[in-house]
């Protein structure tokens, strides 16, 4: 893991260009639809030779307009790669907003988020019977006085063997609680920043792959040194057919729409792969919440005492 490919993410301005830039095309506002112009063929039989992908001169994208441009923070940059060949081809370099991708990585907030995700929908079904639920025990076992033995009212009282349990688990016990809005927001920011800092965040143009064969994905991930588990995130929740079929076989390649992005999944998977559309959407949503006019409204959904 020490020999990570360093030229994936750039925090200082030392660019390591593996593919030389040809005559640059004009700056294009990033739009996932623009990348449909590249001709791709989806081949079902992997034994057939994969047709070479035809691409306009590189770099295809090299500029990206940031919403709420940061005043004094250095903009982070990341390569945009492709998914249609096993070997990595860099299509360009884009800017990432530091408020989203270079936030202080608060491990305690990340822990809070993970704990919340695990606990909030947990319901404990463990149950013990209380004295009135245990079968029997309605009659006084022996008269109050005269027998010389201790006095009792019921054979199922908690001091008896086989009697009811006083403070035992009572099913169903919910462990629901809501973490505050800003804790969840900052959890996402911290995790994305940590992923980028540790070179576990990769940006691709789209999730279109040429074949639905699972071995294609395996080879791709192996070749690029992406971790055993990869989380692919796209803006749309209906993913292209090929990648859906290819990743379906393996449990460690998972597809996720942006609205499902969460701290637990990002930590569980070693590598996070975002499409350009996903990056746009994530930044748009997180920056909106950081700059929204009605901040109080954000935390109003899950109040216990509402007015």
């Amino acid at each position: 893991m020490a020999t990570k490919i360093i030229n994936k993410t750039v925090t200082e301005f030392s660019l390591r260009i593996t593919r030389c830039f040809f005559v640059p095309s004009k700056a294009i506002q990033t739009n996932a639809a623009l990348f449909q112009e590249r001709s791709e063929t989806s081949i079902t039989n992997v034994e057939e030779q994969l047709l070479p992908t035809i691409r306009p001169p590189l770099p295809i994208i090299y500029s990206r307009k940031l919403a709420f441009p940061p005043k004094f923070k250095a903009v982070r940059q990341a390569w945009v790669s492709n998914m249609d060949t096993v070997e990595e081809e860099k299509l360009g370099l884009i800017d990432l907003h530091p408020e989203v991708f270079a936030e202080r990585p608060r491990v305690d907030i990340i822990h809070e988020n993970v704990r919340w995700q695990q606990l909030y929908r947990h319901v404990s079904y463990a149950n013990t019977k209380v004295r009135y639920e245990v079968r029997g025990g309605g009659r006084k076992p022996r008269p109050q006085k005269g027998s010389g033995r201790s006095r009792h009212g019921s054979i199922r009282s908690p001091i008896w063997r086989g009697g009811g349990i006083v403070h035992g688990p009572r099913s169903p016990t919910p462990y629901f609680y809501m973490l505050s809005f800003n804790a969840r927001l900052n959890g996402l920011r911290s995790t994305l920043s940590a992923k980028l800092a540790q070179d576990d965040l990769h940006i691709v143009d789209s999730l279109d792959i040429p074949t639905d064969d699972p071995s294609y994905l395996e080879k791709l991930v192996e070749e690029r040194g992406w971790g055993p588990a990869v989380l692919f995130v796209d803006d749309n929740d209906i993913m292209p057919l090929n990648i859906t079929a290819a990743s379906d076989v393996h449990g460690h390649y998972n597809l996720m729409p942006v609205y499902g992005l969460n701290v637990h999944s990002m930590l569980k998977h070693h590598t996070l792969v975002l499409t350009l559309a996903a990056v746009e959407r994530i930044e748009e949503r997180l920056l909106f919440h950081l700059n929204r006019n009605d901040a109080a409204e954000a935390g109003r959904k899950h109040r216990l005492d509402s007015l």
């Binding site: 893991m1 925090t11 250095a74 202080r104 940590a194 800092a197 109080a296 007015l307």
Partner: protein, 300 residues
């Protein structure tokens, strides 16, 4: 902050740089802050242990207490001392959350309030900096005189209460102030107009103020919305004389004049929208009923 080649590492940049050398952040190497979670220790001495603070025998341990306030026969305190009606009717009293002139000036400086349009309760609530809860007997905002000396904004403002010196401060700068009453259903509509329109209810007719407020809102000294405009003009002049400033002539600024004179009808709650109208946000249309009874009601 890290710059180009300048590795002054502190704070966030240092943290991110550290992460590059450390093992991958995963579910197995994250931790909460110390003392964030208290361990549930089921130990001895719970609830005070042994006798649980109840003592020995008697009504105390047997949890058979005398009623609260009972003084074993003599006339108890709560009956001996007569009550004073300090809080009588407190649940009916109207509340007006305050907004100081200093806050108002800050809002104008930071661009949260548009001085080129009349400022009313909706405009103040739309800044999302003030909460108004009609359910808690809050009937609008009042202006307080904090920051009175440095107030320089020229505004057409409508609040629910303003003391004399605040009225003077606003009029001195060439502004216009009105005090108006809104009943609770109108307030619910005004504090979040988009939510109200989305609910599909027609715009309500503003009701007249209750008896104990009529005197206030018909008095030109308070710039009440029900007062005679000529008397209000006279009071403006008198106030200028009292506080010793030259009353600015509103007619000198012909562009701003229509905005400054913009006032609502006593039955109106939104500028330009009549009661009884139904707003359709999705199709961007406004509908008006044709039924005679309804029209008569809304016009009265």
């Amino acid at each position: 902050m890290a710059g180009v080649g300048n590795r002054v590492l502190a704070g966030t940049d240092r943290a991110l740089d550290l992460l590059r050398e450390l093992p991958r952040l995963s579910l197995s190497n994250i931790r909460s802050n110390p003392k964030a979670f208290k361990r549930n220790k089921r130990g001895r001495g719970q609830h005070g242990g042994k006798k649980h603070g109840a003592g020995n025998k008697g009504s105390g341990q047997r949890q058979n207490f005398m009623r609260l306030g009972y003084e074993t026969g003599n006339n108890p305190f709560y009956l001996r001392v007569p009550k004073e009606p300090y809080y009588k009717g407190h649940h009916i009293r109207r509340e007006y959350p305050p907004i100081s002139l200093m806050q108002l000036q800050t809002l104008i400086d930071t661009g949260r309030l548009d001085t080129s349009k009349p400022i009313d309760l909706t405009a103040l609530c739309n800044t999302k900096l003030f909460q108004l809860s009609p359910f808690e007997n809050q009937y609008g905002f009042q202006l307080t005189d904090e920051g009175l000396d440095n107030f320089k904004g020229r505004i057409n403002i409508e609040v629910q209460y303003a003391p004399e010196q605040v009225i003077a401060a606003i009029e001195k700068n060439g502004g216009v102030i009105t005090t108006a009453f809104y009943d609770a259903p109108s307030l619910i509509a005004m504090r979040d107009p988009m939510k109200f329109f989305a609910s599909g209810t027609p715009i309500p007719k503003r009701q007249m103020p209750p008896e104990n407020a009529v005197e206030y809102y018909t008095d030109p000294k308070n710039r009440g919305y029900l007062a005679d405009p000529d008397l209000v003009a006279l009071e403006r002049f008198k106030l200028a004389q009292k506080y010793g400033y030259e009353l600015p002539d509103l007619k000198k600024d012909p562009e701003l004049l229509p905005m400054m004179l913009e006032r609502k009808d006593p039955r109106q709650i939104f500028f330009g929208l009549n009661p009884g109208w139904l707003v359709n946000l999705k199709d961007k249309k406004i509908f008006e009923p044709e039924d005679e009874q309804l029209l008569e009601y809304y016009r009265s």
